[in-house]
Symmetry: C2
Subunit: 344 residues, 2 copies
């Protein structure tokens, strides 16, 4: 079967499918015993940089869950390591960037990002996974969108209020746009490399963009995200995902993407209306629903499917990643229910 | 001058005012040297419970900044202390609730909230402040909305994902509604007590409600927030404020309030359209703008005022509280600029 006949790829192009395809953000992760076992042997960065091991983690949930696609195991911050900002993953604390970029002077010391040499291991993982999937299922490549990646580079780690990021945007807009330009250009090359290596579609994660107002999004983010999406070659369907602010949806859609990823903060029918019927939508079950019971999960999954109304162009997913305390049998049950309840 | 002639109260009723009234969430707080000085003498809870000291803190920013109203100094969690859940304010860590409510059994052990005996110190603070203001300026009373307060009671402290809260809502809806009913009833009595003691208007803070979808808001929150607002006696204007999810705005408006408080995630004109022209709006400058420069603050404050278009019913405020690293002269400059640029 060619990739373009697979349900996930067809749905991303708004073509009819025999059922609603489903995959889950963070479907490869701590909630699975197999993953935790791998993490006993490798640190997070070691795992990302070891193509056979990263491929194994990518594939772990595929057969176990019966999802309609594999998502590359990697991290959105791998792309900033070549900049020389001192990226580390501290145990249990998430990413730390030792030398954050706070202005013009910091920008001057950034090394260029040579995607092929610095991120070749990711492309190798994509090749191994693609070979293993052998056309049965598509692989979803991914990258962080420029704003979300820049926010880590500027804050030095995760943030609640993004005050350094906003201060840079507001007070030194030229420096901000230069940083975003560097990241957008590298991200376009990085995703294109994943596509050439075998990814059938790609998702751009703008996970923290919801901290911005629509006016700020348009002024400081939209052109750079658009540049990433427009630069992709060869072209495959793009899922453009953000969380935290439904008011951004029409603007994110304007930046680009064949499918707009919705978090659970908006009801799916309203969200689809906000982005327009000429793009697909992905989402948007609240991941905390997976902590309840199969009966309740069914009720809530049914609600999401009903709001999508069986229209071509819906990819079922959560509104954000699987929580690590999620029972794996609930995740498996969700995938089965979506297939069963959406069968046409 | 009677309270109903004061610009802030008139604006809350959508009556014309000579300029756009302005106050700032957390205008009494750590960014002011006077406040930090008080905190060297009192712990946070001691300060809340000492009416003359709490009144002093309430009044500190009023003359210093030239704002159009004082906001009571208190905490949204004072109301849960009588429940016996073990509320403490750990140094630098925010509130901790030692015995969180996770189900039916925990509900059974909650003590009733006798507002007059348990929160009499707040009413005394209101009386002292009202006497000191002597009709020159209105005092804004406030309380946490039932969802936001419940989220602390269930999580045991601040939360990122609200998984315990959602699990309780989804899996034990009767227990959830019982907890919300207890909080809504106490909150109505608490706010009514503040009004009787002299507050000219009140704000209901639903700070964390943006973690919910509109459908969940309607099912699990709206009736309880509405019950609080409808129970207020005597009636004064109510500002109903939430953050984190512009998709909730029409639903929050349906729950009630004369003025809907907007965070910065929505452009003010779009937000006002979402809640309707028959209520006022409050907001919505991103508080990080106050960390930049007077010239940039002016540009952004002007944008907010232009989006409000000079229509009666706009109260200028930030989209959330003043950050503690904010220069006090920037806050003062903002207040002056709003008065000057909005003079009619």
């Amino acid at each position: 079967m060619s990739a373009s006949d697979l349900p996930l790829v067809r749905a991303a192009r708004r073509q009819p499918t025999p059922y609603t395809p489903v995959w889950l953000m963070r479907q490869a992760g701590r909630y699975m015993a197999e993953y935790r076992e791998m993490r006993r042997r490798y640190s997070f960065l070691e795992l990302c940089k070891n193509p056979p091991a990263a491929a194994e983690v990518t594939l772990q949930p595929v057969d176990r869950l019966g999802v309609d696609g594999a998502i590359l195991f990697a991290d959105i911050l791998l792309i900033v390591e070549p900049l020389g900002v001192g990226l580390e993953f501290a145990k249990g604390e998430g990413p730390v960037i030792a030398k954050p970029v706070r202005g013009e002077a910091d920008l001057g010391r950034l090394a260029p990002i040579d995607v092929d040499s610095a991120l070749g291991f990711v492309f190798e993982t994509v090749r191994i996974v693609t070979r293993a999937l052998d056309g049965r299922l598509p692989l979803i490549g991914f990258a962080g969108a420029p704003f979300t990646v820049a926010s880590y580079v500027v804050e030095g780690g995760p943030s609640r209020d993004f005050v350094h990021t906003k201060r840079l945007m507001y007070q030194q807009p030229e420096a901000w746009h230069r940083l975003m330009g560097v990241l957008a250009s590298a991200t376009g090359r990085y995703l294109s490399g994943q596509i050439r290596a075998g990814a059938s579609l790609v998702q751009l994660f703008d996970s923290w963009v919801g901290a911005l107002s629509p006016a700020d999004y348009r002024a400081f983010v939209l052109p750079h995200t658009r540049a990433v999406i427009e630069s992709l070659s060869p072209r495959v369907p793009v899922i453009h995902f953000g969380t935290g602010n439904p008011a951004l949806l029409p603007h994110m859609r304007e930046a680009g993407g064949d499918v707009i990823g919705l978090d659970w903060r908006v009801d799916l029918d309203v969200g689809w209306q906000a982005v327009g019927a000429d793009v697909g939508v992905q989402g948007n079950l609240d991941p905390s629903v997976l902590l309840t019971s199969p009966a309740y999960i069914r009720q809530r999954a049914k609600d999401v499917l009903e709001r999508a109304g069986g229209r071509p162009g819906h990819i079922f997913n959560l509104g954000h990643g699987v929580f690590q305390q999620t029972p794996v049998e609930h995740v498996k049950a969700l995938v089965d229910m979506v297939h069963e309840m959406s069968a046409r």
